[in-house]
Symmetry: C2
Subunit: 306 residues, 2 copies
DNA sequence: CTGTTAGCGCGTTCAA
DNA sequence: TTGAACGCGCTAACAG
């Protein structure tokens, strides 16, 4: 107590750097995201940061710009720093995950988030996109749409596979025929999306509704359709993923969105990392891989002006 | 060379933690922002992160959610970590800057960014909002608008003072009368903005153009005007600040925006911090405070659909 | 030029 | 219960 009193008097402050060094802990977790300026990811990091704050942890940020090389370099940086845990949303072209192997060797947990590799022996937090797509299809079928198109993402993305899978399963579950031609991929650029939309419109059985990979893609698709004088959500109804907050200010936005709760997903990811950090203290021999699937929710875009 | 060879063989890797400890450097800079999910800030951090990467530095992120208490706590965290430098965009209600004083004592440079305190002895990177507002006023005057309203931000914000100042100066420079009543504040919430818009519309000399604090506020103002059956950019023209990328997808958005180049501003802020870090090595007796003002640019919102 | 050592600030351990 | 000493991994200073 004498020490404590004196410590306060001299306003002594422990040197965190020394503690980090000695404890072999940095009290920070790394987060690697493709693009911070996308609403989904900025909401996610917001959730991660808030949860980290609650655990008195800091967040080290890296942005891959969807570039595998940059992603590798950031991972390197995070390893050097080093972080106690890592949350990663992989770049859209990343197919090699070796640059995350070192973390396993160093006993630093890596948790994949949203954009997850299609692997078994990893920790992950993501949305159940298959179920989400089923929700979308059911919504459209319930609204008497018979021909449903889909503008999907790049085929190698796990998220694209899940959407396709959900689409097919939902149709079959409702005793409808699943037509391959109604699913067209986009590379997520405006041009790619326009091309995809053009393909759908050129089909003999032109769709009366389209499920789109995400809201950004939806806006491009809608823009293209309007240029072709198609009445949005009348001639063709759009349903999308993500639910951008700004959609409520738009006159022509998807009728409904599959909400993925990025903020909550981020919180969940961070919470999971912290639980892994704590459990890794114990001498658990076998690693139990956390695969957390969060449910999506179909929400109508409530237009403020109608 | 023998050592180097052996080091490679054993694939020895230096322990960054020990280096940090010994060198008293963490090779990371802290960034405190009010809200990451706002497009402006997410673009800014993108620029900061990219610049930091070039210097092999990491970015430690904190989000104040415009809460002074939270801001304080994050600053505390950053100090403990500790970071080598700090970039801060202050919360909108922060009026006390004492929680940043400790950094000065620790010889850790603090650079204020965009939301800057109205003080002399600080480093800062921000936009010249006064000049930006002059651009906006001139644009409107050139387009034959005689009565120009302004929905400003909270009056104690430096950014609000600058806009007001710019408005007044621009009018006087063009030999027009500056009418106080045409400047109404909003607390930046939707309700506050609607109230402000209502005030403007109730004036005897109703404005034919309105300069709005930022694009988010503009969208609320426009929404309110539309509900009153006012034709946007016909009955009343809107000019705003920030230039949200999604505006190009909207049918009713401000006619023009004062672009603030958040990404470049972020890069600039980071570059400035690094120059401060290097210069603080030398035994410079007197601190030269960096006050960097970046110029804005008026851009027309090019509608893709017209 | 090469090899050795002190010491950074903490927590832990061991001795008193 | 209290206090002294050690060692984490590195770099800088110093000695050979």
């Amino acid at each position: 107590m004498k020490v404590k009193k004196l410590a306060l008097e001299l306003n002594y402050e422990p040197n965190q750097r020394a503690i980090s060094f000695q404890q072999k802990k940095s009290f920070s977790i790394g987060v690697i995201l493709p693009e911070l300026s996308e609403a989904f990811f900025s909401a996610a990091i917001s959730g991660i940061e808030d949860m980290a704050g609650k655990h008195n942890y800091s967040v080290l940020l890296g942005q891959s710009h969807d570039d595998e090389k940059r992603e590798k370099q950031i991972a390197e940086n995070m390893k050097k720093h080093p972080v106690d845990g890592l949350i990663v949303s992989i770049a859209k072209n990343t197919e090699n995950y070796q640059h995350f192997d070192i973390f396993k060797r160093l006993n630093i947990p890596v948790l994949f988030f949203d954009r997850i590799p299609n692997l078994e022996d990893i920790h992950s937090v993501s949305c159940n996109m298959e179920a989400g797509t089923v929700q979308a299809v059911n919504f459209l079928l319930d609204n008497k749409h018979l021909v449903i198109g889909m503008i999907n993402g790049p085929e190698k993305l796990f998220a694209s596979q899940q959407r396709r899978e959900g689409y097919a399963k939902a149709m079959i579950a409702r005793n409808k025929q699943f037509d391959q031609e109604l699913v067209v991929p986009s590379d997520l650029t405006k041009e790619g999306t326009q091309l995809a939309m053009a393909k759908l419109l050129a089909l003999p059985n032109k769709p009366t509704a389209v499920i789109v990979f995400n809201d950004y893609v939806a806006l491009d698709a809608i823009q293209y359709a309007r240029q072709k004088n198609i009445r949005i959500n009348e001639d063709i109804t759009f349903v999308s993923f993500a639910n951008l907050p700004l959609c409520s200010y738009m006159d022509f936005a998807p009728l409904a969105s599959i909400e993925q709760f990025p903020y909550e997903q981020g919180q969940n990811a961070a919470a999971t990392i912290f639980s892994l950090l704590n459990s890794s203290h114990q001498t658990t021999e076998t690693i139990v891989y956390q695969t957390i699937r969060m449910e999506t929710k179909l929400v109508l875009n409530n237009k403020v002006i109608d």
